[in-house]
Assembly symmetry: C2
Homo-oligomer: 398 residues x 2
């Protein structure tokens, strides 16, 4: 009855989202403090105080017709100006409002970018492990997502495999930096190498290949590591940003796209993403939240909170014999399954009321994702369960 | 460079939106009070006070992590419950939260509905004149919008033409009640007749044909006329609602879909629209605004304000010799062009700084749309200009 494209999606509904709903069910059954739900990237740190204060000020001082009204589809010009200035100050770029389109979260932005770029049959590359929705976003426009197999030692892009994967049909590469689910950051030399490869391939094939950089975790960095600003390394780039994680506003759906002036046919591309924003039914990013984020560009949620969770879990899991890379950014740990079929590991953890997402959901079986954007108590109280799981897989002796 | 599908859209960018931006430009050049911009359905009545009060209360009393956080893709269950109850009370229906999905405005909701229903090549019918974006929404899923020609005397659906237009490929009919751009309401006997036709055609062809009713103007009714609630007349229905007009929140992108339990394969269809919400990149309707509208279900913007504009313009335009149906709902007047090519009329009006949208944008050439959701002063001050236009077309003597 439903459309063919949706049939497969309904039959294989998002494992992550199912777990989120399962977690809510288990919390009702066993009590919220007895369930350790590490399944969803739903920040548990409240938005900075300035968010609420800004909303109150805007309600007091601004004309409600403007504040809640339509504006150009690309967003309020003053908001786009301020975002451009903030980026310029931080990353030594030279954007103006003409480079910024406000979007309904990063997910909305990526859909606009793909709608603007993809013809049916076009290939979009990404590095496994990757955020599973990329496949659906690309399929919305009849493109084909091709994954470059992961380097499960470092979780850095396998550049040789990448080079071989680029074809005349390649239209874009989606990268996610810092990475969900691995928590690694792609450093400058990796970005430079990717850019070099794509420049050569563009020339070889006479095509235009875009890097779409999905950066909701840009501000969530623990190690002092720099996350290179992609537009400085390659011309045909689109950056997708979201305030979901930085300002703990995931439900509000507020983000932006950056399309640098150096991108091929910039003006027409910018018009295309703006029109895509309209015809896909977003129309515009939520108006009040546009005005809010413009006042909060120097704010961020309490990162020390996530750092403490990371350290607590990482140290304990290593002690119990689990193996995983120490995350440099985002709020995920990608843990090697102690048994080849990671779904077994996920099931065993669930018996201890610990909810994890199988790595197959990120095109990387044999691993599981743990989202540590939860309360500190959840982390600490989950540890005995993790210990039991480790024991049952023989990682440590009882 | 951009995708083929977007090329046509960029080349023929929305006339309405272009005018909106042209209006802003003219306001800068000539002064805001010297430009009479009737081009966009952007409410000029502020949101009811309760909207701002509710936001303040929510900020004071609710956990910010919940208030701005993720929830199930269909929306907060308590919000969906309250909307169901409100509909049940007002329309004698029996919905529950399982019939309501919160959406990013009506435009977002319609896109989710179409993604869930349409296979490539499916036909979607609508009655001209119609909101021009329907064509783009249907094309997003490779469906084909077929318009039923208008009855330019009454602007009620031509039921004989409709009957002939339904084919085995017909997947849905989009209606818009009250109607943009004509301002008419389809009464109960029209809805009953449409439902009868579709039931027969479903049986004849062995297909399922949906009525998608786009109802952002449901609460904007001047005449005491009833707008029939479509789910009571036909099983395969989806209602798209938006708070944009009722609560004057068009920039906030908040609305919902209703999918009645009687719809064929309801559970799977509901799952499909919910997943469509996710994969199209909406993810969920903005969280704070979900909580706000749930508290404001009995509020509406000041309709007397629009009624005064309607009466002022209607009376004057009739006096100047223009011909048009008196709107029963929404905030649009659809005026017959005094010259066959309505673009000439639009150009002449623009010389008087009056911005109108040509009827060709609604598949109804020979007419123009006037959106009277503007200040009363704009209406009154535009009248001398309209009079001059009437004179120049010989409707009245100088």
């Amino acid at each position: 009855m439903i459309s063919q494209k949706m049939q497969g999606l309904v039959d294989n509904n998002s494992v992550i989202r199912q777990m989120f709903e399962e977690g809510k069910r288990m919390a009702l059954e066993f009590g919220e403090d007895k369930v350790y739900d590490f399944s969803l990237g739903n920040p548990n740190v409240p938005a900075p105080d300035k968010v609420g204060q800004t909303i109150e000020n805007l309600l007091k001082n601004e004309d409600p017709v403007m504040l809640h009204g339509y504006m150009p589809n690309a967003g309020f010009t003053d908001v786009r100006d301020r975002i451009a200035s903030s980026l310029n100050r931080r990353f030594d770029t030279s954007f103006t409002a003409d480079n910024i389109m406000m979007t309904v979260g990063a997910a909305g932005g990526l859909n606009c970018a793909l709608k603007a770029l993809i013809n049916p049959g076009d290939e979009v590359l990404t590095f496994a492990p990757y955020f599973v929705e990329y496949r659906n976003y690309v399929a919305n426009y009849d493109g084909v997502l091709k994954e470059v197999a992961p380097d499960t030692e470092t979780f850095q892009p396998d550049l040789e495999a990448f080079k071989d994967a680029v074809t005349p049909k390649t239209r874009a590469l989606i990268i996610n930096n810092p990475n969900n689910p691995s928590g690694v950051i792609y450093p400058e030399d990796t970005i430079t190498a990717i850019a070099d490869i794509l420049r050569k391939k563009q020339e070889e094939y006479g095509t235009e290949i875009f890097i779409i950089s999905d950066e909701p975790y840009r501000e969530l960095v623990y190690t002092g590591a720099e996350v290179p600003y992609i537009t400085k390394y390659y011309d045909n780039t689109i950056v997708g940003y979201s305030f979901s994680k930085t300002l703990s506003l995931p439900g509000e759906r507020i983000g932006y796209l950056v399309i640098p002036s150096e991108a091929s046919d910039h003006d027409r591309l910018f018009q295309a993403v703006t029109i895509a924003n309209r015809v896909l039914g977003f129309v515009n990013a939520p108006s009040l939240m546009q005005k809010v984020v413009a006042e909060c560009l120097d704010e961020k949620a309490d990162i020390d909170f996530y750092a403490r969770n990371r350290d607590t879990l990482y140290d304990a899991l290593r002690e119990y014999g689990f193996s995983c890379i120490k995350p440099e950014g985002a709020f995920y740990m990608f843990i090697k399954s102690p048994t080849p079929d990671e779904k077994e590991f996920v099931s065993r953890a669930k018996e201890e009321h610990i909810l994890l997402v199988p790595g197959s959901s990120f095109a990387c079986p044999g691993f599981v994702r743990l989202a540590y954007c939860v309360s500190y108590e959840t982390c600490v109280n989950s540890l005995p369960g993790f210990k039991k799981v480790a024991e049952s897989f023989g990682l440590i002796r009882k």
